[in-house]
């Protein structure tokens, strides 16, 4: 048996591709839920909502300051226990649900920081102008502040997303058969461990490139909205 057999990588790739939906599912669900929760966290801090803003600050610094693997185990083992004390039984939930919860929370923390600084970067005078034009606070956010914040936050949101893609590979430590879990299993069964991980690496690199290109595309599309962009005077 050869030490390293490049053809094995080619054989493994299609098999790993079948696990791609699991990885993309984690990324998609976590980024959607994370965006929503991150927005709420960010706004409660920007608006200095009593109690909520302090709660958000603690939550964000915990989620940003601890490894996602630790968070995963806390959610997986801790959440059922916690909910059990209030009479809710989630011991039978599928593991993947806990993965979704972990990554959603983790993403929310990172997104909330991006969104918060983006919201604060929109010149403050526009809020006053919106109020003076008769817009409610919510309307001002929806129509004036957030569209501009989105453009500002986009690069760092993109970075969080590519980070999430890599981090999602840690889900295999709970036995999830995502791309990484699948590579792990393939390696064990065929004894072609290095080839299996090489195939996984290729897949992740390809995905990252696709992500980055997609984000660049969105950014270009939004460029005319970007208040930093200068047109002809």
């Amino acid at each position: 048996m050869k030490l390293f057999e490049p053809e094995a990588i080619l054989r493994f790739l299609p098999k790993l591709l079948t696990a791609l939906p699991v990885t993309l599912g984690i990324v998609l669900i976590a980024s959607a839920a994370g965006l929503l929760l991150g927005l709420l966290l960010a706004l409660s801090r920007v608006e200095r909502l009593p109690v909520l803003s302090q709660l958000a600050a603690v939550m964000v610094s915990f989620l940003r300051g601890t490894p996602v693997l630790v968070q995963m185990f806390i959610v997986y083992y801790g959440l059922p226990l916690l909910l059990n004390t209030v009479g809710v039984n989630i011991f039978s939930w599928d593991k993947i649900i806990f993965i979704y919860i972990t990554y959603s929370l983790n993403c929310a923390a990172f997104f909330s920081e991006s969104i918060r600084s983006a919201v604060l970067a929109v010149p403050k005078g526009q809020r006053d102008a919106a109020a003076a034009s008769g817009l409610s606070r919510a309307q001002a956010y929806r129509r004036i502040i957030l569209p501009q914040s989105a453009v500002i936050a986009l690069p760092s949101v993109g970075m969080t997303l590519t980070g999430l893609l890599q981090d999602s590979s840690l889900a295999f430590s709970l036995g999830i058969l995502d791309v990484m879990g699948r590579a792990n299993a393939l390696g064990a069964v065929t004894s072609r461990v290095l080839e299996a991980y090489a195939a996984a690496a290729i897949l992740f690199i390809a995905l990252t490139i696709v992500f980055e290109q997609a984000f660049r595309g969105v950014q270009r599309k939004l460029a005319p909205q970007n208040h930093i962009a200068k047109g002809t005077a």
Binding site: Q126, A129, G231
Partner: protein, 256 residues
Amino acid sequence: MSDIILELRGLEKSFGKRSVLKGVDLRIAKGETVALLGPSGSGKTTLLRCLNLLEHADGGTLRIESQSLELHRAGKKESLQMCRRTAMVFQHYDLFLNKTVLQNVTEGLVIGRKIPAKEAAQTAMDALEKVGMADRANSRPQQLSGGQQQRVGIARALALNPAVLLLDEPTSSLDPERVQEILDLIAVLAKSGATMLIVTHEMAFAYEASDRVIFMDEGEIVEQGPPREVFGNPQQERTKQFITRFLNNKSPGYFI
């Protein structure tokens, strides 16, 4: 001019422990142009913001047209109603940067006032016409010079058809060579019958274009009257000092 369109009594405002407005009374007649002068930090901006309800006052009663409001306990709905009786032109223009020139003007009409889009666009174009910006309706604020942006800012306020137009140092951020054209525009609006309260450091403008000058210092109205009297023969020591200091020493730092 006895038709008082705006009447303010005993306006109080503090930031923390610092009292910024100490019982300000103000009456403005329909069609009147009032220039508000005073050193930096005297509370001019805060006064305008309280009138527009951008700032929550600690005390005072405001009547504009037929609506009266006790400012410190105004509910959301009444506040919004009162807010719509004035419109504000800002020192830094503060145009909505994600909107076109036209959308900047229609935003308050369509979203704030629920006016049908078509009608709002017509009103907005009329306002842009008045300030000479109709041909830039589809431009973005970033593509405009400061003077042009302020024209749009004025159109945005005019389109709201306010009972009183509030202008907070509308020319202070402009290049010196752009100042006069904006002042001229405001003077035309004043002559056309608009009611306005304008904070300005342009003494020549205050002298020529206003019906009345109010001098404010440390949160109080110190002196007011026709420009000829206040500038020519100020009664109060503080007013005298302010005016002489301005005339002798036009160091801009003092006024900013």
